[in-house]
Symmetry: C4
Amino acid sequence: MVSVVQVYEKPVLNNPVLIEGLPGIGFVANIASLHLIQELKAKLFAEIRLSSFQDIAITADDGKVRFPTNEFYYHKGRDKEERDLIILYGNTQALTTVGQYELCGRVLDLARDLGCNYMITLGGFRRDEKVTTPKLYCAASDTETVKEAVGLGAEIMEGQIFGVAGLLVGLSKLWNIKSFCLLSDTPGFYPDAEAAREILNAICKMLHLKVDTNRLDKAAETTREILGAFGISQPSQEEKPKEEEKSHPWHI
Amino acid sequence: MVSVVQVYEKPVLNNPVLIEGLPGIGFVANIASLHLIQELKAKLFAEIRLSSFQDIAITADDGKVRFPTNEFYYHKGRDKEERDLIILYGNTQALTTVGQYELCGRVLDLARDLGCNYMITLGGFRRDEKVTTPKLYCAASDTETVKEAVGLGAEIMEGQIFGVAGLLVGLSKLWNIKSFCLLSDTPGFYPDAEAAREILNAICKMLHLKVDTNRLDKAAETTREILGAFGISQPSQEEKPKEEEKSHPWHI
Amino acid sequence: MVSVVQVYEKPVLNNPVLIEGLPGIGFVANIASLHLIQELKAKLFAEIRLSSFQDIAITADDGKVRFPTNEFYYHKGRDKEERDLIILYGNTQALTTVGQYELCGRVLDLARDLGCNYMITLGGFRRDEKVTTPKLYCAASDTETVKEAVGLGAEIMEGQIFGVAGLLVGLSKLWNIKSFCLLSDTPGFYPDAEAAREILNAICKMLHLKVDTNRLDKAAETTREILGAFGISQPSQEEKPKEEEKSHPWHI
Amino acid sequence: MVSVVQVYEKPVLNNPVLIEGLPGIGFVANIASLHLIQELKAKLFAEIRLSSFQDIAITADDGKVRFPTNEFYYHKGRDKEERDLIILYGNTQALTTVGQYELCGRVLDLARDLGCNYMITLGGFRRDEKVTTPKLYCAASDTETVKEAVGLGAEIMEGQIFGVAGLLVGLSKLWNIKSFCLLSDTPGFYPDAEAAREILNAICKMLHLKVDTNRLDKAAETTREILGAFGISQPSQEEKPKEEEKSHPWHI
């Protein structure tokens, strides 16, 4: 077994937008996507297990085993305006570079199969300075989509985006999917509900989603518990400051 | 060659239970499964060799080469009550995460092909404190199976289960197999016959197996010899205390 | 997804020569091939993405995501003398040995499909001493091709050639492609336009290419910017002095 | 490309014996097999290139590129007594465990296709003490073959055999090939012609090969040159003393 993609239901969706929300810096994406799932009562329809996830199981009070997995949820817009969604949520990214590529390929295959041609990946942008109101940053697959992201109030990001959030945007063109990555300022070392709120507000407005962000702290708390139980450290950084890389590209 | 599954015989079994007994903490699973094989005169019917096992051979007094392998044995219940068994026994787990997933996938494929829909994985739960009477701990694939395991006198385990014992339980749902993991207290640093005895007593009662545990020390001694010859250190921990992981899930 | 080879156009070429120009020592190959592409207005026709490339995306001023990729360009000779070319250009080599073999296999498959039976790989030969006029060095797949390379004014190289530049020449025979590697002296720690100029002069003469090398500094500057943004350190050395390896072949 | 098996000629052989001679401890196997090839004028008929070999090329005086490869030679017995041979010779083993398994699988596939059902793997057994006359040691796939190896004057070996020499014997049963490993005492840190001579004398006698061992030093010298140029350190040990492993099988 190298990977298992289990599809429980094949939803019929109308031009859906995929929102990626795997663990990363400040667990911003994780919190935002979990909150969307809970508030929209999005429905689990598929699951991915990869041999490049950790080989562990964990148990909690109820004795039921939990394990590293990535799940797909869908939401059908409740009125004419609200967009259909595919939400990628999970407790891990792949542990290796090869695994990250495999994971992204599977996600893009599945998205294309459901008629998706637009994707938003989420993440945190670590700041050493104290963050008061988190700013948003964006990067996109193409010039047109850059403009749409900037229209959300995001600044154009300069630097490197690591992990699935960056890789999906980098690969999406090959699947004929347009995409942008939306990052929020965060100190990064705890599940950051405030950074997630900024991102949620922006994408809810763009996609005409009616979502109350009052219970965001609950999603942050759940995220803390789940990941704490797994002992999963952040699988990859979504962003690194540009300067430090500049010093060693010609080293051996 | 990535992996070879050699099937010597395809037994016809009646609703068999798979018992996993690969090397791990205190070699508890290894001793218990070897003892079952010897006492029940279970019959070898298949073998798995993976490219993620060690690339060595070892020799003993008789000059015949031994090598890293996983074997499948079967036992047909000797009366109406005694359950049919598939026993997974071996001298190694896979050396890599990807290999562990591949191994588990192969095991689950083979089990499903033989009509198995129930699995028990075994292991040790390392204790720093002195263990007088080993307690049992359990975790399961679903709520119903948690209850069955608790019915054996096991406490619900909280923490992480590493290696094949945990991974099989985590994956079994995708193969429509119910499963639980049964761990026994053990200091963990020697082949622990006493911990194996507790586990054997519990599962023999549950599965109505008539097995004498008097000769368990012999199985422990054989285990010591085989693994000593291979120079195999414990391939993975089945359990780690929960506290130490809690401190670093948000580190980079 | 393990790898994606995207072919945008299948050009009809007349006995084309493949020129390899991936990043390496002094980025000599990278500069030379970029300059060829720009001066000849060579046309992008295919792209390779491998799961053994880095899993990052980077963004610049315009917000558009860039990512690790290898591209193929073609040039059709503008007169009877000028040879048709396939130019392999990119911002990375594969990160692992297995990936390097996969990349080379893909490149050779694609080259053979287009009727290519001659290949020139480029690179830098690091010198600790100060380089005034860079000398050229060569190695080839067969004796006849050695002579052709020596005919360009190159000395026969002695030593090891790491990375795609060496591996392609080592493998080409199995694809019935003749090949040589052309290296130029370079201090190696910056994008070296002078080393690239020596190489370009030699291959342009051999292949009757009319290419102005005056704007080479621009290609070096672009190379510096692209690679700096990626934070990619040199993925592999094309050459190491022979002496240092000699000391440890029989160590354990 | 993961691996390329290039078959130049498919020889018709009569019950051939495969002799493995890849680099290892003291390069004993490498020297012995090279000598056999040279003295018997054995003919190259196939070649294996794996993505788990090193990704380098090296050049020597003549400018022709050399590269990591494994080659197959055959020899047809020159009289009724002399056995047909397949000789596996090369300048490397695979760099990873997975690669070693893949290599062995390919070798066994190819051997079986040519009607081979007997294999001898060669190697050195490192001794810290000074070796005056090297002793021979053996291990085999089955009891009958142990006897045949002991009949050559070899002692039964106790311990671990690493690398292809051990792995091939461990796997051969699954391909219905009987096999033994023949090791010779050696200090191990230089290409050891004396150890190779002991082994050659034994197998030539067994297989009724008429081979002069006077020029063995030449084979050792060639081995030294080839491997020195590649800068290849010994890819794996064929043997380790049994004691040191015994101390840590129950560690974590």
